[in-house]
């Protein structure tokens, strides 16, 4: 299976999973020039920025490990653009990662990591 297909499958699955947990999906694939956020959802007045990582094997590490510092910075950058919107500018927010373990086209396991990372203090 091609990676982009797997990615799309993972994101759909993650969105369904979040909705089942009571989240409201605000938007998907929010994109600015240099970065993209897979899912933006909301629960109890908290805006949640979700990065979805799907993997069919852990040969190259866990899915969550792929969300490295560089990726985090990009997500944070996109999130700050999103929060410029008047409707959301004074909301609490959070960065989550959803790991999807695939076996062929079947989803084996979904793992939701809340508050996976935060803004780093610049020294």
């Amino acid at each position: 299976m091609k990676t982009n297909v797997a990615g799309k499958l993972g994101e759909d699955c993650a969105a369904k999973f979040l909705e089942s947990k009571g989240y409201t999906i605000i938007t998907r694939n929010f994109r600015i020039r240099s970065a993209e956020i897979d899912i933006i959802a909301q629960i109890d007045d908290v805006i949640v920025f979700v990065e979805v990582k799907a993997r069919s094997s852990t040969r190259h590490g866990l899915p969550v490990e792929a969300v490295n510092l560089r990726k985090q910075r990009k997500i944070i950058e996109a999130a700050s653009v999103f929060l410029q919107d008047d409707n959301f500018c004074d909301c609490a927010c959070r960065f989550d990662v959803v790991e999807i373990y695939l076996s062929g086209e079947r989803v084996e396991e979904v793992n939701h990591i809340e508050n996976a990372f935060e803004v780093m203090q610049e020294d």
Binding site: L83, C93, F95, E118, M120, Q121
Partner: protein, 510 residues
């Protein structure tokens, strides 16, 4: 929401109360610590967050800002973990902010949420008391130290969750009481006592006089003659420390992190014995945020420099200020700090590189040039500050094998204490406490020699061509000997005679 708690750091030998302001608000999740934190304080955010989580408490992912005021001082203490954690819980509404402001929190946190001891609790507690704090929270190992300050209620919860319940009013904690110190059983402490030293009567007498008058001593002797053994016993004949002196010493030990865990007041006079390759900063203190050096750790006690000429020349010269002023000022870009260093300096050295110069039974292999080079580091100004300079000869076999017990330290100490008492009465109005501290003018005023003593001193002065400083030193030591002799008003000729013997015996600078 905003909350404020109080923590503390140390600056020099004093505590510094730090106001810890915590704000937790909506926004991008972050945990920033501002207000010049050191690396240890910056890393506290990981300990704080993990400790809160592992205590079964929750902290929300919000934009958390911690400010440590005053902002212009660099904060070194890991003891800020606890005030930050409590401040965070209060800012997120878990604790009532008003309750938290009544306490001073000093403790490091383990990842598990347990309170850990930190250095510098005593000076911090002293400052806290002075600034009007009534209640202080420390780790259990720090109880005895904090309790040395009267008028403070000390609480020592085991972990963060107990503390939170206590602040919530859900459980009662009673103020801590002094904890017994557990000595390992069957452990015999070896006490250095002058009774163990065979022979060396002259040296023992010299150290007694030095202890009585606070004089510095230089012992010159062949290898293995017992210089180190003698010096190590010096603190056993010094008078017991007053509570004030003991507090000063404990404070310094506390800041230097040298206080054994769980212990309270230090009652033994310090004896510091730095190796001769110690750096100047290690001896006199230093660092970007200055920390006390050996001269300060030896405050109210003895600093022993073995193999004196092997020390770095700059280090030796740097000793002049602490010897003279009884304190040392360390200036760095960030601040200038003064550390106390009221010490008796005891130095030991060999007479020459091979060690046998002047010995009757061995041949010295050193050339005159070798000896010159060896002693050249000892500058006149430094030697001038050492009132008593003696030779320590090799011990004879008969003396060594003798099983006779010599006079014990405690009986020497009685004489020393009596002599100190006389000096305190005479000198306290000048804010001095021992003879060695008398300046030239004061010597002229209060050290009166009997005519025969005057004559003797004049004779020696002319014959040996002594300097004014040497003259002063002989009189000072003479005064101490007279004090040991019952404190006669005038200094008698036998006192002057002994004083002369204690310094002209070996004279490097003449």
């Amino acid at each position: 929401m905003y909350a404020r708690t109080f923590g503390a750091a140390t600056l020099g030998v004093d505590g510094l109360i730090i106001s810890v302001e915590v704000d937790s608000a909506n926004g991008m999740p972050a945990f920033d610590i501002v207000g010049l934190p050191s690396t240890a304080v910056r890393e506290s955010k990981e300990r704080v967050r993990t400790a809160i989580k592992n205590s079964g408490l929750r902290s929300r992912a919000e934009k958390i800002t911690v400010n440590l005021a005053p902002a212009n001082v660099r904060k070194e203490s890991a003891g800020l973990d606890l005030p930050i954690a409590i401040g965070l819980l209060a800012a997120q509404g878990r604790l009532r902010p008003s309750v938290c402001e009544e306490f001073l929190f000093i403790s490091e946190l383990s990842l598990e949420g347990n309170l850990r001891s930190v250095a510098g609790v005593l000076p911090i507690a002293i400052t806290a008391r002075a600034e009007g704090f009534k209640k202080i929270i420390v780790a259990q190992e720090n109880i005895n130290e904090a309790l040395l300050v009267e008028g403070l209620e000390v609480y020592a919860p085991k972990n963060l969750i107990d503390l939170v319940d206590f602040l919530d009013g859900e459980i009662e904690l009673s103020p801590a009481t002094p904890q017994p110190i557990h000595e390992p059983e069957g452990f015999v402490e070896l006490v250095d006592d002058f009774a163990d030293v065979q022979g060396q009567f002259m040296a023992k007498r010299a150290l007694e006089i030095a202890a009585a008058g606070g004089h510095n001593v230089l012992m010159v002797g062949v290898p293995g003659s017992g210089k180190t053994m003698l010096a190590k016993r010096m603190s056993s004949i010094l008078p017991e420390m007053t509570r004030e002196e003991a507090l000063e010493v404990t404070k310094i030990y506390s800041i230097a992190g040298k206080l054994p865990k769980g212990s309270g007041l230090v009652t033994k006079r310090p004896f510091q014995h730095p190796n001769h390759d110690a750096s100047t900063a290690a001896i006199i203190g230093g660092g970007t945020n200055p920390t006390p050096g050996q001269v300060t750790l030896a405050h109210n006690g003895v600093l022993f420099l073995d193999e004196l000429p092997e020390f770095n020349k700059n280090t030796l010269e740097a000793l002049r200020e602490p010897i003279e002023e009884r304190q040392i000022t360390i200036s760095r870009v960030s601040n200038t700090l003064t550390f106390p260093s009221s010490i008796i300096l005891i130095c030991a050295m060999n007479p020459c590189p091979c060690g046998w110069n002047g010995d009757n039974d061995h041949l010295c292999r050193c050339s005159t040039v070798d000896i010159k080079r060896y002693t050249r580091k000892l500058s006149g100004p430094l030697l001038d500050r050492i009132d008593i300079q003696i030779r320590v000869p090799r011990v004879k076999y008969d003396e060594l094998s003798s099983r006779r017990r010599n006079e014990s330290s405690s009986s020497i100490r009685k004489r020393v204490s009596a002599a100190r008492e006389i000096q305190t009465q005479r000198l306290s109005k000048y804010r001095l406490f021992c003879n060695a501290q008398m300046p030239h003018a004061l010597i002229q005023e209060i050290c009166i020699l009997e005519p025969a003593a005057e004559e003797l001193l004049k004779e020696v002065f002319d014959a040996k061509k002594l300097s004014t400083r040497s003259y002063d030193r002989i009189i000072k030591v003479g005064r101490t000997i007279a004090d040991l002799d019952g404190g006669t008003d005038t200094i008698l000729s036998r006192h002057v005679a002994e004083a002369i013997k204690l310094r002209s015996d070996f004279d490097i600078d003449s």
